[in-house]
Subunit: 191 residues, 2 copies
Amino acid sequence: MTTAEGVARREGGRSALVLAAVRSAVTELTAERGAAQLTVPAIAERANVSASSIYRRWGDLPTLLAEVATYRLDPDRPLPDTGDLRSDLLGWARELVEHLGRPSNAAMLRAGAALAGDGESDCLRNRRAEATRLVERVAAASSGPVPDVPEVIDHVVAPIVYRVIFDPGSLDDAVAERLVDGLLAALPAGD
Amino acid sequence: MTTAEGVARREGGRSALVLAAVRSAVTELTAERGAAQLTVPAIAERANVSASSIYRRWGDLPTLLAEVATYRLDPDRPLPDTGDLRSDLLGWARELVEHLGRPSNAAMLRAGAALAGDGESDCLRNRRAEATRLVERVAAASSGPVPDVPEVIDHVVAPIVYRVIFDPGSLDDAVAERLVDGLLAALPAGD
């Protein structure tokens, strides 16, 4: 999604219109038929663009679905910056719960999961980059204990994504807070 | 999988043969074509059974795939019972890493993820039952702090499944130990 966003910003105009039309088509068709029924030709027809322009920009269907499921989580967006590690992590975790928990995004995340497996997915890479920014900023400003990035992924991102995919009914507002507090409670005291 | 195993045990003979033939067919076809290409008619042909007998026993393809990916993790199997919470959790977490990390099982887990979403999946329900048994046994024998079941799912099961699906290259022997130690470190001291 970084790439598609970057391309849109550089190219503007026509390219940005294609991007918006394809994203809308994917969202609409997912709501109408479910993500498992999507095909590139059907998306192209709904968006009124050529299938080849979709393949050229996104490469394949799973990459497109993952981009549409997460593009509103622009990896360049401002992250919470309260000066407090817990508040920053909590704001970020709540944003993930709220965004990924929407039924259309959850459906696309499931479809993306089916086709994942070769290397790290874009979605994970962007969440990892965000966790790195959050954690490094706090580490630079504080002498207190700070989680490392794999800990943030394992104990905050993974449980949210797992619930979105396998147990969506269990995802509520309290989850983000419980996960962040669990992560912080595991840090060595005064380290 | 509880149901299918139970049926096989009660019926024995012919039913057990069908069960074994279908599981072998799914495993072989996944290795040959990938889980995304599986269909019930193709599985029925390979197993030399009727498609209707597959639908009757499993209901649908995602349920069958989830069952084959996890049936060796029989929910009635003996769990580690060393008398020590950390050792028991670690033995169990290593078993999940080892089992779900196998490429054929990972592929089936991804295919199952694509079709999850209505209620809790069988695979999760069985892991939850195991976590409950592990935790309750320790709680009954000890006055020390013990994690609750949702914590075990969030901080041990979810990160393993997340890595299996989205970042399989990151799954190694050290992961199980790090996750269990993170879970235990988050417990309130002497509570």
